[in-house]
């Protein structure tokens, strides 16, 4: 169940020993919480959005910043219900066909992300079509204290800890900020698993659960 932002603001202000919000305004903490929620989602891919991308005839290269403005990181591309293979680099498509840039096929097979803005969907089709792009989304900005969070409650402590570290930096309590960052780092490590990041799981590790 999502939490209302004012509860998180209270928690952050209590943790930095400014419960009345005298040194840090509640609006400032709200804005930082909003940003922190996005970064935790960027790291863990918790809130995913599915967007339909219209593909054009004989086109492989798509600009995401134009088509998918709320994308933090693409985690999957699907043609209908079929997941396309994620290729690590452009060069890996050369192993499939040296002339892949103009190659046309009956169906999409693979995708390659290039930075944050470009996406190659291989091969091109002769006619226009669509694919489904699944991406870790830029969570909505928290604009009021009654707004609710989007990431699951069990990850909200990470959001609060990150915000706490930033607020502690602002109040120049560097040792405490460093401790909060270390705590967050350790907490994140437990969740940065292949499953969570939607990456292929190495052979022999399928079914393994990190604790």
């Amino acid at each position: 169940m999502a939490k209302v932002a004012h509860l998180l603001i209270d928690t952050v202000l209590q943790r930095v020993r400014d419960p009345q919000g005298l040194a840090h305004t509640r609006a400032q903490v709200l804005d930082l919480l909003s940003q922190c929620q996005r970064f935790i989602n960027g790291a863990l891919g918790l809130v995913l959005t599915t967007t339909t991308l219209t593909t054009l005839p004989r086109k492989l290269l798509y600009t995401l910043s134009g088509d998918l403005t709320t994308t933090l990181r693409v985690v999957a591309v699907r043609d209908g219900a079929r997941d396309l293979a994620k290729m690590p680099t452009l060069a890996s498509l050369n192993h499939v066909d040296l002339h892949w840039m103009r190659l046309e096929g009956a169906r999409f097979e693979a995708w390659v992300p290039i930075g944050r803005d470009l996406l190659v969907i291989y091969p091109a089709k002769e006619v226009g079509s669509t694919v489904t792009v699944v991406h870790a989304s830029l969570t909505s900005a928290l604009t009021g204290e009654d707004d609710v969070t989007e990431i699951p409650d069990e990850y909200l402590d990470m959001v609060v800890t990150l915000c706490e570290a930033i607020v502690l930096l602002i109040q120049r309590d560097l040792a405490s900020a460093d401790a909060a960052m270390k705590r967050l780092g350790q907490s994140l490590q437990l969740d940065v698993s292949a499953y969570r990041l939607h990456l292929p799981v190495p052979d022999g590790q399928a079914g393994a659960v990190r604790t």
Partner: protein, 195 residues
């Protein structure tokens, strides 16, 4: 908009101690430095002239990630490798390009190897799809990083920390190396989270 937002964050982080003019300049330098890494990428077409091997990127185009000649992904080659493969007269070699050499990064030039012998077909984008139906024959497509003044919103906070780190490292009445180091660390951590 992002510059104003980042500078507002820097002022918050600095509790108003920062010099806005200096921070604005640090913002510009930080945004330029980000183009060294593939955060913000784009693709551009380059018209090829027969018997011309050297081409220049525009000022906002930074690092080359990949170069295509027509339908082929070209290999990035070092000068020594190119000499080893094609001989010392490789700059005069003519044919269909198979690689490219970045000879002068400051001049933003790259050289196709071998030198192309065919001029690109017309850049007429009837379908409005330069990388699709309209992709001209014998053209070079370059995928490169880009210097963008307006950052996406998720890069604003990390850049603000990087600007604050620079602001607190310089000689001033508010220099604070420990805070600068902590800011730099936080900026790096935030970037790592969205990498």
């Amino acid at each position: 908009m992002s510059k104003a937002t980042v500078l507002a964050y820097v002022t918050t982080l600095a509790n108003g101690q920062n010099d806005l003019v200096t921070c604005a300049e640090y913002y510009d330098r930080t945004v330029e430095a980000m183009a060294r890494f593939p955060w913000l990428t784009t693709a551009s077409l380059v018209a090829i002239t027969a018997e011309t091997s050297q081409y220049t990127l525009s000022s906002t185009q930074a690092k080359i990630i990949a170069v295509f000649y027509d339908d082929r992904l070209l290999d990035r080659m070092a000068v020594k490798d190119t000499e080893a493969v094609f001989g010392p007269a490789w700059r005069d070699l003519r044919g269909s390009p198979v690689g490219y050499v970045v000879e002068d990064e400051a001049a933003k030039t790259f050289r196709l190897v071998p030198q192309p012998t065919v001029t690109s077909k017309n850049f007429i984008f009837l379908f409005g799809s330069p990388f699709g139906l309209d992709y001209p024959l014998y053209t070079v497509a370059v995928i490169h990083t880009e210097i963008r003044v307006n950052l996406p919103s998720w890069l604003e906070l990390p850049v603000a920390f990087q600007v604050a780190a620079k602001e607190y490292s310089r000689e001033s009445n508010h220099r604070d190396f420990k805070f600068a180091e902590a800011s730099d660390k936080m900026g790096a951590m935030l970037l790592a989270m969205v990498q």
